[in-house]
Symmetry: C2
Amino acid sequence: VVVGAGFGGMSVAQTLRKAPVDVLVLDRNNYNGFWPLLYQVATGIVETQEIAYPVRSLLRKQKNVDFRLANVRAVDFDAKRVMTDSEAIEYDYLVLAGGSATNYFGNDGLAAHTFGLKDVEEADRLRNHILSAVEAAARTDDWNERRSLLTFVIVGGGPTGVELAGQLSMLLHRTMPREFPNLDLGVARVILVNASAGVLESFPANLQAYARRRLDRLGVELRLDQSVTEVEHGVVRLGDGSTLEATTVVWAAGVRACDLAGTIGVSVGRAGRVEVTPTLTLPDRDDVYAIGDMAYLEGFKGGAYPMVAQVAMQQGRVAAKNIVAHLQGRRAKTFSYFDKGQMAVIGRRAAVMDAFGLRLRGVTAWLGWMGLHILYLHGFRNRLIVMLDWLLAYASRTRSAGIITRPEAQTHVERLQTSRQDRAA
Amino acid sequence: VVVGAGFGGMSVAQTLRKAPVDVLVLDRNNYNGFWPLLYQVATGIVETQEIAYPVRSLLRKQKNVDFRLANVRAVDFDAKRVMTDSEAIEYDYLVLAGGSATNYFGNDGLAAHTFGLKDVEEADRLRNHILSAVEAAARTDDWNERRSLLTFVIVGGGPTGVELAGQLSMLLHRTMPREFPNLDLGVARVILVNASAGVLESFPANLQAYARRRLDRLGVELRLDQSVTEVEHGVVRLGDGSTLEATTVVWAAGVRACDLAGTIGVSVGRAGRVEVTPTLTLPDRDDVYAIGDMAYLEGFKGGAYPMVAQVAMQQGRVAAKNIVAHLQGRRAKTFSYFDKGQMAVIGRRAAVMDAFGLRLRGVTAWLGWMGLHILYLHGFRNRLIVMLDWLLAYASRTRSAGIITRPEAQTHVERLQTSRQDRAA
């Protein structure tokens, strides 16, 4: 039984393709999402269906695997069963690959009043909210209200925050003015808040500096060495006591292991990740593996392996092979990581890449980023349409996903406006 | 001021392109939808964004027009103002083109327990519900429960009901078995209920007979001369007292004018449509026009003009020209309808067409249907992707929109199952 159909879980299932086992994949969503492009869903460049692929379609040609749409709530290790919302499922071997969730560090107010960007539903909700806020700005005569509707605060200076900030600024200042000729989008602000002194801090210093210059050129305001302490009713309170009025606040400041990691009664490391042995099993169970974002294993630059797709995929392969080895009485392999590097894109024709021994920036890195992301997408249709959408977005300033599909987004924006007015009165 | 950005409203705005007027288009959605393909959204063939186009993008090149996302609640004809949720907007001329809504004939229970198919949000909710029901069927061991989850009742034998029934049957019996190898989809039923003795009754008798044969071949069960009196907790009660257990019930049995038609204090005809003069104004107001689905005007085969896109578009052009004529002191033109005919598709390589003096069926009609629908779509991207999706759907049995994007759909299906179990116990 494999819990989770993300990068890690799918890697396990596919590595077991020819193994003498029956694989059952469980996930609370029926799709495998390509998270690196979520920020493009949020900004309307691509559609949700283009970056998510049904698990059943991915596994269609594999005979020894089945899928069940189910939310796993608990595990009974002694009885060798996982408990979903509706049933108990027995396993011989279990792989926990539940992934991660947004980390609000225990601040419930942040969770309630900000947007996350961890799955396609969150990205689509954010997209609907952004479009609704700009439409509301086009409707109002009140200057303060308009300014608050057009202020977008993004918390977190990692790749997610930087990529979203760059793209959102392009959307507001490059794409939308054509569609809102009577709205002064010059007052629109994108503010990127980060708790530390830089952005993209896992990158080399010269690429960090390049990213800052590009963000600056795109009109993104940086608030560094700054934390967000409270978000409520459209007001963001920063660590230094100052406030920002913003109808849109995106929380991209941290990830933690999924809830399941905390409910199964095993010891966890930083960010709530389940501690595993170098062969990726739980310390005292050789029939239970944990991999990817939800697993904690040290061995990377003096710390734990990062919560990225490459680690999950490589761990998935090792876990699958170790299950077969265990079945055949062979010795388990320990996990060793081949670091392919990292990349992030900052708007149009600009990206940073620190991979394969190369440190690139600018157009070359941007083209490399596009090529690799197309390669990692599932399916011919999705690749073709994403390429088409990129061409439209970059060459003709057209967004592909510009319609508001969730009417509740409009209601939400109106409620924020009302509570802002109440506060002012 | 034009209320509504559907086929009619857009036709008014675009006809006024070079007129010496300022046009303000109001709609509660920010897009113009291509409703004839909603059933393809519901069955996952195309994505929502492909059949809806942002109003602002459509009007981008037109200088004398602006758009506002607003829900019109009332009209003060004497003060010449429309009231939206948030403001009052003055007009010199007003065109009411608010379209239509699903007609439940006053039965609130039907509204609460069935799915409509009148806009992209409803279609997307239905798509999510269908996918969630089949996933739940794959999860359960209870034969009765599985049968209820795999029973789909569609009420209404017009083009919407017929097209949805045919496509849904193909989805269940042709596409999904590849993705659900361990689920016996042979037990899945699509049941089309219609109050009268046939289907597609606006078509000639031989095309009606052809449609019935095709539906039969696709495995769609027809329940004719039969009404639906109640739908609750997954049970459909028919006029003859018999019941069907079905987790999915789609109401495609009637349309009426939009709510606005009933709230502005003018006299209405059948289906709540606003009565207009042959020049498309309200009887006593030469500055207020009503067109399309929400307008009632007799003159078509002894009755009122039908609630179809062609009427709305042609009326939009006449209303726009009459406004210019009124401004210039010229006499208004009366509306005369050029009937281009009608068509409906029933599954793969099968359609009926009664247009341009031709009565076609089969592959020819199907190709004609595809060509015309591609032509009427907005934008190069949408045309290209819809063609690609059709190719995938018909040639390789692949759906493009197979992911469940609304988790609430799963909860809804589970709630129906629980209430079914409670009733059984």
